[in-house]
């Protein structure tokens, strides 16, 4: 299965047309795919909270947004998630590269990985964890759920899901 293509196809099928990204090695393929799809306006951001601001504006302007980011950035987005996305009740699918999980080669990444689910739980953000490639089948339902309930929703995608790190 081409999971990069499947993620893009599901975004488009759910009318997501504004995507902001802060890159991660694991997300390179899906970001590349998004760049080629004319149905999606892709706007790279310099920091994840900035990206969430862009998404809030896009949604108020009538577009369905999404953010693609790394879990290590969760810390810098806590205030934005609480005081913008949640306080004003806005939907936001967060496709998150879950660094520091099984098959991770860089020890420092584990330091945020151990806090990732706890932080999301503390914020009461519905959280899904893609570990096997077949887990992507749930993505379409997760997007529908996000825009039904107008909440930020996290999809954690770990190294095993993306097929490991190759020769690292």
């Amino acid at each position: 299965m081409d999971i990069d293509k499947k993620i893009c196809d599901d975004l488009i099928a759910n009318d997501v047309s504004f995507v902001t990204t802060v890159p991660c090695k694991q997300l390179a393929g899906v970001i590349e795919h998004i760049e080629t799809r004319e149905e999606i306006f892709h706007i790279p951001s310099n920091k994840e909270d900035e990206g969430m601001g862009l998404c809030a504006g896009a949604w108020m302007g009538g577009k369905r947004p999404a953010i693609i980011m790394q879990n290590t950035a969760l810390g810098v987005t806590i205030n934005t998630l609480a005081t913008l996305t949640q306080f004003y009740r806005m939907p936001l699918p967060m496709i998150i590269s879950y660094r520091g999980e099984l098959r991770e080669p860089v020890a420092c990444q584990v330091e945020m990985a151990v806090h990732t689910k706890a932080l999301l739980a503390q914020l009461h953000i519905p959280t899904y964890h893609f570990h096997w490639q077949k887990d992507v089948e749930e993505f379409d339902n997760i997007l529908k759920y996000t825009f039904m309930c107008n909440k930020p929703v996290a999809i954690l995608t770990d190294a095993n899901f993306w097929g490991g790190y190759g020769d690292q």
Binding site: I43, M52, L54, G57, A58, G61, F87
Partner: protein, 184 residues
């Protein structure tokens, strides 16, 4: 002039436009001076007014004016390259630069010292960067609107706040009526 005096003067220009207003006292002042459904008041999240406004401008055709501050731009400096590289000609970023963190007690910011936000914006690749004095704000803003080109306006003014009540409107109400105004 202090910010509230500028807002009073430009209120007739802002009234018919979509406005995204910075957190804290700027939103309280705008709300007290001329509350409109076309105003989106930020109640939290320092620094993101320019980003919210850019997302909005890129997603629909109506002009968007962001009322931001020097402190907020400094806290989200990465916004300027994003703005420069994703040009929306319906976007005006107006930075009220009073060289201080007004909402927290007028502590000085670096823009009152050696840092020029206009030069930073230009270095980031922004076009149509205009620095003006407080008394010229209305004229500069109207000209930017009439031009149909993206503008970054840095308004140099005095530090100080007007005493205005806290906004008690529910955030979902602010957001909902704003979205209805966007669609109207």
């Amino acid at each position: 002039m202090i910010r509230s005096e500028i807002l009073k003067e430009i209120a007739p220009i802002l009234r018919d436009q979509l406005v995204v207003c910075n957190i804290g006292i700027p939103s309280q002042e705008l709300h007290a001076i001329d509350d409109q459904p076309t105003n989106f008041y930020m109640l939290g999240t320092m620094g993101l007014a320019s980003s919210i406004g850019l997302g909005l401008a890129l997603s629909q055709p109506k002009p968007v004016i962001v009322i931001d501050g020097d402190g907020s731009i400094l806290t989200n400096m990465g916004t300027l390259p994003t703005i420069a590289n994703n040009v929306a000609d319906n976007y005006i970023l107006m930075i009220i630069d009073n060289g201080s963190y007004g909402s927290t007690g007028d502590q000085p910011t670096y823009t009152g010292k050696r840092t020029s936000l206009a030069k930073v914006a230009e270095a980031c690749g922004c076009e149509n960067v205009v620095e003006c004095q407080d008394v010229d704000t209305g004229e500069v803003l109207q000209k930017a609107l009439d031009s149909g080109k993206m503008h970054i306006i840095v308004v140099k003014c005095d530090s100080g706040n007007a005493k205005m009540p806290v906004i008690t409107m529910d955030p979902v109400v602010i957001r909902h009526r704003f979205m209805e105004a966007v669609k109207a």
